[in-house]
Each structure stands twice: as structure tokens, then as C-alpha cells.
Symmetry: C4
Subunit: 198 residues, 4 copies
């Protein structure tokens, strides 16, 4: 079928659907303990910590995805497949979260968890740049992304986190958490701070 124009609205709706399912089915991996004691619940603490981190990451990606498409006018086939690549990477988060939580943050699960986040970051980068190529370097999106500091720092921190896991997995978990916290701080204040430092 010849490629007609693609609706941005339906791309957002499908992505929202996939992200909503990803963020929610992760809880199915949090198996309720068979005993009714509080101590049994505490044994599920590592799985819970992994769940919290992943919930925040998927929430951040939804937020960023929302911002990315908000100022965009046009969408094409390349954008669609870059978006699917991002959704694919994020669809693996329930798997990597489960492996990391079940194994109490052992080295390899923590590394694979970070690699998946890194790949998602790369996919997001590809999505952003396929959108800029389509909408023009003077578009509102391109100007907004011009000061995209977090977008550049995140993958570098993921990489540092992955490598640090070889020293101690908790170090990696700490760095991943740092990336998550970084996204909580409102952007504009950071940017003002950075301008002053320059």
C-alpha cells in the first residue's frame, strides 16, 4: 500500500497504550509471598526496589515521549519505526527488572538492565532526530532539543553505571537512580544554573 500521511494522534495513542501496559504488567512479576508475615514481605524488597526504579524510568520515558511529540507537526514511516524500536527496548524492561529483582541485584542482571536502558536511550535519540529531519532544523522541536543536556548526559551515565557494575552492582544501581533523579529536577532551573556556571 502506498504510504499515505500518518496520523500523529494514533502514534501517540498506540505508544500510550504500550507504555501503560509495560508500566502495569511489571507488578505481575512481584509475586505475593505465600506466608502472611511481614518478614515474608521484606524478602520481596529487592524485587520491589527494582520495580520502583523501572516504574520511574518508564514514567520518565512516557513524559519525554509526550514532550517530544507535543511540538511536532509531521510524522513519517522512519519516525514510526524509530518509535517502535523505542517501544521494543522498553517492552524488555519488565523482563530485565524481574531478572534483576529476583537475583537481588547480582552483577549480570544489573548490567543487562543498564544495557536495555542505554538502548532505549539510543532509540529515543534516533526518534528525536528522525523527527527533526522531518520537521526542519528551525522547528520548535529542534530548538527545544538544542539545549537537550539531559538527553546527552543520560546515555553517558548509563554507560558509566554499566561499567561500574563490574566493581559492585550496587554502584550501578546508584548511578541508574541518579539518572532517574536528574529527570525529576525541572529543566529550566538546571539550564539557568548551567548558564551561570559558564
Amino acid at each position: 500500500m502506498a504510504s499515505p500521511g500518518i496520523g500523529k494522534g494514533r502514534l501517540e495513542a498506540f505508544s500510550d497504550g504500550v507504555l501503560a501496559v509495560i508500566i502495569t504488567i511489571m507488578v505481575l512479576e512481584l509475586h505475593a509471598p505465600h506466608e502472611a508475615e511481614l518478614s515474608a514481605l521484606l524478602e520481596a524488597a529487592p524485587a520491589f526496589l527494582a520495580y520502583v526504579l523501572s516504574f520511574i524510568f518508564v514514567g520518565i520515558y512516557w513524559n519525554n515521549h509526550h514532550h517530544l511529540l507535543h511540538s511536532v507537526q509531521h510524522v513519517n514511516g522512519t519516525v514510526l519505526w524509530a518509535n517502535n524500536l523505542l517501544l521494543f527496548c522498553l517492552s524488555l524492561v519488565p523482563f530485565t527488572t524481574d531478572w534483576m529483582g529476583e537475583n537481588h541485584f547480582a552483577m549480570w542482571p544489573v548490567i543487562v538492565y543498564g544495557v536495555d536502558l542505554l538502548l532505549a536511550g539510543v532509540a529515543f535519540f534516533l526518534l528525536a532526530h528522525s523527527l527533526i529531519r522531518l520537521n526542519g532544523k528551525d522547528s520548535a522541536l529542534a530548538q527545544a532539543l538544542g539545549s537537550d543536556l539531559k538527553g546527552w548526559v543520560s546515555p553517558i551515565l548509563y554507560l558509566v553505571g554499566i561499567l561500574s557494575a563490574f566493581i559492585h552492582p550496587y554502584l550501578a544501581y546508584g548511578i541508574y537512580t541518579l539518572v532517574a533523579l536528574m529527570w525529576f529536577v525541572p529543566d529550566q532551573r538546571i539550564e539557568r544554573l548551567l548558564r551561570r556556571e559558564r
Copy 2:
């Protein structure tokens, strides 16, 4: 990325998606008995009762969330993360429901179930007040919430329910059910009743 305006519509769509998945995947924890006898089904009765209560609570939150955002014009980053906090608390409901149902309403599961509902109530409060701060104290939302009696009584009842679980877990279950029933009664009649009492 600099924070552009956030679409209220997409916040609603994402929340609807997450709540729809939460309310539905709970049924996956209702494991079908291996025997085909009615007695085998009755053994699943506690899990079923827990499911019914949770279905109603998530339904109430969806209803309240709907009302809360209906009269709102603007949304910002704080609102978005308060909303994510609410969704996180509610995403744990399938887990706490499963634990409570599987252990036939034992003390600790019933307490943890109530604590999760209490936290969801606090998150809803934060969401409501971040919306008021953004939309102004004279907004339609602020005036509607001005008489938000149920919103104040619910967390107090949850707390009473949690504490009463130390006496007997069924007492707590009863109080949680009371909160659910309270939300069924149409608001306006309650308000008229209260005005007369004053």
C-alpha cells in the same frame, strides 16, 4: 528538553490506560481451581472478595480522577509526577489484593492493603492540590474541592481500618468496605444532609 505545555488529554489517556490494565490484570491472580467441583470454586471465595473490593476501589479512583481533571485547564510537570505517584500506588493494588486474598484476610496482608490505599489517597490529595495551585484558588476545581468531605474522611477511615486490623483483620476489611460504599452515595445528597445538620 525545555518543558513545553503538557496536553491534559494525553495525561488522561495514559492514566485511563494504566487504570484499565490495573483493574483487569487483577483477575489473572484469581487462579481457576484444578477441580471442576463447586466446592473447589468456594475455596477461591476469599481471593474473589479481595478482587471485588479492589475492583471497586480502582473504579472509584478512575471516577474521581475523571472528575478532578474534568474542570481543569492547565497541567504542568508537578501535576504529571503527582499523577504518576497516584498510578504507582494503584499499580501495587493487584499485588496487595493477591497477598490479602491468598492468605484469607490475615492481619499483615490486610494492614499492607490498607496502607497502599492510604498512600493512594495521599497521592490523590497531592494531585488535587498541585492542580489547584496551578489553576488558581478561584478556579472551578478549587470551589468543587472546597466541599471535599469524602476526600478528608477517607484517609482517616483508612487509618482507623489499618489500626483496627490489630484487633481483628475482618474489622479492617469492614471499614475499607465502608469507605467504598461511602463513595457510591451521590455527593450532592450528602452535602445537603450535612448543611441541614449544621
Copy 3:
């Protein structure tokens, strides 16, 4: 919170979300056999047959729900909770389907399956009539429902099916299938046929 107007659009979106999850998670109960032989697959045939029937029923309910809300202007709290009751009954379909399929259409699972469908039919009736009460007896909806033959025949057939299960469960399965097939036949032809018979 005082009850402001409720958006019909968001009620549809939430219902679509819940029905989409219900219709899809049922497949998770179709456990893939451990052996790679075709004979192993055939052992899953009863579970598959139960899945097919339930997929059609949820599809029919989505279709009818779609039609019901299409011609409607106003929605209120009663409609919302009648809708939640319908979604609750349908949310149990994955459970009853699993029980019926796993036990190869034994008597009690087939009866409970039918009772759930009957309750969903009653909830749909309540939803339709709460909509008519709100939108008026002269509304397009009320006139469309005036000739709602299938809506009346279905619950009666479910009841006959449930009772026939005491004779033989396959009889009940056949009658449930009949109800499903009845909904496939386009309405207008049936109505013309009935007019001629009169």
C-alpha cells in the same frame, strides 16, 4: 467533590481499554504445551474452544457497548456505575473461561461460565435503561432499543443454557454458541423478517 458533568468520551476510552485488556489477557491462560508435537497442541483444544467463544462474546459486548453509547448525549454517575458493573462481570470472563477450558467443559464450570454471561447481560440491561432514563424516552437510543429483541432473547437463552448443563454440559455450550451466532446476523434483516411474520 461535587459531581460535574461526566465526559462520554472518557467513559468510552476507559471501557475500550478494559475490554481490550480482557479480550487479550485471556490468551495468557492458553498455556503453550511443553512438547513440540501436534498431539500436544490438540490437548489444548478444549481451552482453545473456550477461548474462541469468550473472544466472540467480549467482541459482541464491545460492539453493543459501542452502539449503545453512540447515540447518547448525556452520561451521569448512575450510568458510570452500571458501566463499571458490566466491566466487572466481563472482567471475570478470563477466569470462567480458564476454569471451563481446563476442565474440558465439565458441568459446574460450564454453569458458572453461563451465570457470568447472564450477569453481564443483566448489567448491560441496567446500563441501557439508566441511559434511557437520563436521555429521555423519545431519544434516538430509546427508539433504537424499542426493538431490542436480541437483548431480551439472550438472557433467556443463557438461562436455558445454564439449566441444560445439568442434562449435559455440551448442550449448554451449544446454546451459548447459538447466542453468539445470533448476534452475528445483521439486525435489520431479522427485524424485516419479524415484521413479515407478524
Copy 4:
């Protein structure tokens, strides 16, 4: 109920929801290994490969479904049930993927996987033609589908893949992958290429 006009928007929303759930719950079948070693992860490689292929196929169907309905004005009951048939075939993908992955691409699972894809292709064909019948042979849709080469080649390749599984299952997997890759290449270039070859 007499059949009023059916909203295309809600058909798209429901389909998006179902496809979003299908594409995401497949990851639940990717069970995280109990050991924290990289070798344990590699044992999950066949299941992962099956997941990747299925993710791409469901993504392609979402993309095609999007294109198909984009240029359409009217929708009726036949379209709705052709759409449900397509969703049903695709809802079985998590099951066939799991069976194929768990059995390391053994013959019968690979055949059944292909048969499901073939049936989905047939359902898509029925959906497309029920849309053309409704919207007219001169509609934008009919003209777009007039050069629908991939739509014709895909089912033939699926059939070749299914038959080749009797020689070696990996051959079938390769042909299925070929179909997936074919859909990645932008349509217009292929068409220009084909025009030159003529």
C-alpha cells in the same frame, strides 16, 4: 438494537488497545532465568528471537492497520467483524510465539506460528476488501490498494515458509523474517523499482 453508524475513531482506539496489549504481554512469556549468570540468559535466546520476530510482525500489522483505516470514511458491521477476526488471529501470536520459542524452533511450533500469520494475512485481506466494498472502487483506499504488491506476496511467502518447515524449521523462520524485512523497505521505492523492471 438497530445498527446506527459506527464510529471509525472508536474502532481504531479498540484495535490500538488490543494490539498494544498483544505486543506487550508477549514479554511475560520471556521468563527471567533463576540464575544470575550470562549463560542462563543465553538459554533464553530462542525465546527472545521468537519475541523479536513477533514484536516486528505485530508492529507491521499495527502500521498497516493504521494506513488502511487512515483514508477510509465509512465503517459498518462487516468491517467490524473482519477487524475482530484480524485481532483474534493476532491475539494468538503470544501463544504461538511462546510455543515456538520454548521448543527452540521445532517443526510443528514453527508451522503453527506460520499458519497463524497466514490467517492474520487473510483476515487483513478480508478487512481491506470489506472496506473497499463499502467506500467504493474509486475511493482513495481502493486506489492505494490497487498497487498492493506486498499484500499479495506476503501470504504466498508465508505458505512457502510453512511448507519449507517440513525440510528444516530454520528455513521457515528465515522466510518469515524475509516477509518482515520486506515490510521495512519503504513502499514507493519498491514500486518505482518494479516499474523500471517492467
